[in-house]
């Protein structure tokens, strides 16, 4: 089989897998948060709610696609796709097990971070094209926030790169065979914490979800979308969260390293990613959100200096220990 065809099939399988996982992760989140709130999540649709995501997807597909009258048609209609594309594209670079990854680029992390930052374009397109002041306000806040938090996010993600000496995601995992980076004294734990905080903000998760603040801006830039376009945007958001959870598990929690045969690594990896996701969800459902100016203050005055210092510390440690491998 020609490699191009093989890659195409692999990409198709991955895409469907991602969509399936993301849909069921929404159910996991709903059950998890329901238990935290003394209630049961979805229960009646299928045994213990297992068919709920499918019911939701079907419902969204059948909904009327309402397009606001004075919206900028091309921008409005293309925004969900422009938002979805980067969020799903990054899954291509993640190695799920040794050798089981779509494209283990040797600039994997750079590709991931760069492409995931492109979602802002789709977001702003949605906010602008909706012809809605709430959406516009939310989009402006979003651009502010995501750009501000991408910097600490990148610096936190670079700490494992410095410690391992490679940008290739598979290489970072292999370098953790001696010990996960989160167990690294001080730099590992603080780096993981900084990564989580930056991830919360770059994903617009509470406490940093000011841009979709349901109680003020009623769904933010998504407010004018309904039906399948809304489904695409939801999918993109959750896919992005899962992607960064996978990245966090990869960078700090050892990726597919774990006891057992090689192919079990994919299972360990998914479990670790879900653990990161549940941790993020736990934070999300415990805190109130903070205002946008406070969010920006935290980013520029706290998180950025901290991650820079950690990165420098990591660099010093590596240089002191005689340097890591070639970049």
């Amino acid at each position: 089989m020609a490699p191009a065809v093989r890659d195409l099939i692999a990409a198709f399988v991955l895409l469907n897998g991602v969509i399936g996982v993301v849909t069921y992760v929404t159910l996991l989140e709903r059950k998890f948060t329901a238990r935290m709130q003394s209630r049961i999540g979805p229960y009646r649709v299928g045994p213990h709610g297992l068919l709920q995501p499918i019911a939701d997807a079907l419902k969204l597909m059948m909904k009327e696609d309402v397009v606001p009258a004075m919206s900028d048609r091309w921008v409005y209609n293309l925004a969900p796709l422009a938002f979805l594309l980067p969020c799903v594209l990054v899954f291509g670079t993640i190695p799920f097990a040794p050798g089981l990854g779509l494209a283990d680029l040797n600039i994997g992390l750079l590709f991931f971070l760069a492409v995931s930052a492109l979602e802002i374009v789709g977001l702003f397109m949605g906010g602008w094209g909706s012809n809605n002041k709430y959406a516009l306000l939310s989009a402006m806040r979003a651009v502010n926030q995501i750009i501000s938090y991408d910097l600490p996010f990148i610096f936190a993600a670079l700490i494992p790169v410095v410690l391992s000496g490679t940008l290739r995601l598979g290489g970072i995992v292999e370098a953790q065979q001696g010990g996960w980076y989160v167990a690294y004294p001080v730099i590992g734990q603080l780096g993981f914490l900084a990564y989580l905080v930056a991830m919360l903000a770059a994903e617009n998760r509470v406490p940093f979800d000011i841009l979709e603040a349901e109680s003020e801006l009623v769904a933010g830039f998504r407010v004018e979308y309904s039906g399948m376009k809304f489904a695409l945007i939801q999918l993109a958001e959750y896919a992005h969260v899962i992607a960064t959870s996978y990245l966090g598990a990869l960078l700090f929690l050892g990726g597919w390293l774990g006891p057992g045969p090689g192919w079990l690594g994919a299972v360990w990896f998914t479990l670790k990613a879900l653990a990161v996701f549940l941790l993020v969800t736990w934070v999300r459902w415990s805190f109130v959100r903070i205002r946008v100016d406070q969010i920006l203050a935290i980013s520029w005055k706290l998180l950025l200096p901290v991650t820079l210092m950690l990165l420098l510390a990591a660099a010093f440690v590596v240089a002191y220990q005689g340097g890591g491998g070639a970049a």
């Binding site: 948060t33 709130q37 306000l137 109680s215 003020e216 805190f287 903070i290």
Partner: protein, 387 residues
């Protein structure tokens, strides 16, 4: 009514330097009811608030003229539907004042128990909805919202065992109360308030030191002492601004003078101060309920016979103003009686109506996100505002 000419300018937009006019419309997840606030924004900062009310007007004051003294207490619950007991109490107190009708001691204690339990339930709702406004329906706010409602449900179960209804009771009648305690209710009440006291500790643990919560509520929506007195706010708003004014102390009604409770006062005037006032009120109300249950005297629950017909209660000529300390502030009823079975005129002083008047003074200068925090700490209920 705002100046129509100025209104036109605002609605055409762009009055100067790139101002955006945004409508936090009557359909809004955190409008606390149906409330329209036309915000004028410069970027993220609010520079003007134009409040529009009246979406929930149901002609209560006209109903007061067409319904008799026997029928209206059930309807009075619907003004402040979150704290129904205190609304009914204001009306029957006014009628009893004019008619010089004495209320037996047991009925007074029962009224106190009902009013204080209602205050706890109302504050549970306040805390839940406020945190939900600030934290989002899909976020930590919803968690606290569901916890508060879980506690409120236990209180509503108590009311259900007492009257049969969960939200709108019809508990008060002119001359006393309509229901007496069923068997085992006092024990159940005690264990419920014990549970709630423990849960309030949990909420405080969740919110007190929380830097996010502090950042959202400190220095936000400061009502200065002078402004509070000028505008005529009442309840936790005025006590959060340093003035110790509680109608249960100033003009005790229904034997409140027999109870020992603290009136919490904070001087900050911001959302945090009002939060602290209400959290202390939680505990004080629990204390009052315990004292009332302990000292509940035996006896009749009404000085008038049971209601047998619609025109049974006739109040002689006179007019008076009776007020109670509701969870939101001073709820007052001005009643003009003319000797028949119906009042000649009845006017409600809604606590939330007067409290909302403070919004155009304290909101400008804050960000959009603060508007919901301030609205939540003012805690309006639009049944009271629009009547």
């Amino acid at each position: 009514m705002p100046d129509l000419e100025a209104r036109k300018v605002i609605e055409l937009g762009y009055a100067g330097n790139e101002r955006l006019v945004m409508n936090m419309g009557p359909q809004h997840p955190s409008a606390h009811g149906v409330f329209r606030a036309i915000l004028t924004l410069e970027g993220e900062t609010v520079v003007g608030v134009d409040a529009v009310i009246g979406y929930l007007h149901r002609c209560h004051e006209k109903l007061g003229e067409t319904l008799t003294y026997v029928q209206y207490p059930s309807i009075a619950s619907k003004t402040d539907y979150v704290a129904a007991m205190t609304s009914e109490l204001a009306y029957v107190l006014a009628a009893e004042k004019i008619g010089q009708i004495e209320v037996p001691k047991r009925a007074q204690y029962l009224r106190v128990i009902a009013a204080e339990l209602q205050r706890i339930a109302s504050h549970c709702l306040w805390l839940g909805t406020w945190c939900m406004d600030m934290g989002g329906a899909l976020g930590g706010g919803a968690t606290l919202f569901l916890y508060c409602f879980r506690e409120r449900e236990t209180l509503l179960d108590l009311f259900e065992a007492l009257t049969g209804a969960r939200l709108l009771y019809g508990f008060h009648q002119v001359g006393g109360t309509r229901y007496d305690l069923p068997a085992g209710w006092a024990e159940r009440c005690r264990s419920t308030v014990d549970l709630i006291e423990k849960r309030i500790d949990e909420y405080e643990a969740m919110l007190e030191g929380n830097a996010f919560f502090l950042a959202r509520t400190r220095e936000v929506g400061v009502i200065s002492r002078e402004l509070a007195q000028e505008v005529g706010v009442s309840g936790p708003l005025i006590r959060g601004s340093g003035i110790a004014y509680d109608i249960r102390r100033v003009e005790p009604y229904s034997s409140y003078e027999a109870f020992d409770f603290k009136v919490p006062v904070e001087t900050g005037g911001d959302c945090w101060a009002r939060y602290r006032v209400r959290m202390v009120e939680f505990r004080e109300s629990i204390g009052i309920v315990r004292q009332a249950l302990e000292g509940l005297p035996p006896g009749p629950i009404s000085s008038r016979p049971g209601v047998k017909s619609v025109g049974q209660v006739r109040i002689g000529k006179g007019e008076t103003y009776a007020r109670v300390e509701g969870p939101r502030g001073e709820v007052g009823c001005y009643l003009v009686a003319d000797g028949s079975a119906k009042p000649y005129r009845m006017k409600w002083r809604g606590a939330s109506f007067s409290n909302l008047a403070v919004l155009p003074h304290i909101v400008p200068g804050h960000k959009v996100a603060d508007v919901v925090a301030i609205m939540g700490s003012v805690d309006p209920v639009f049944g009271e505002v629009d009547r």
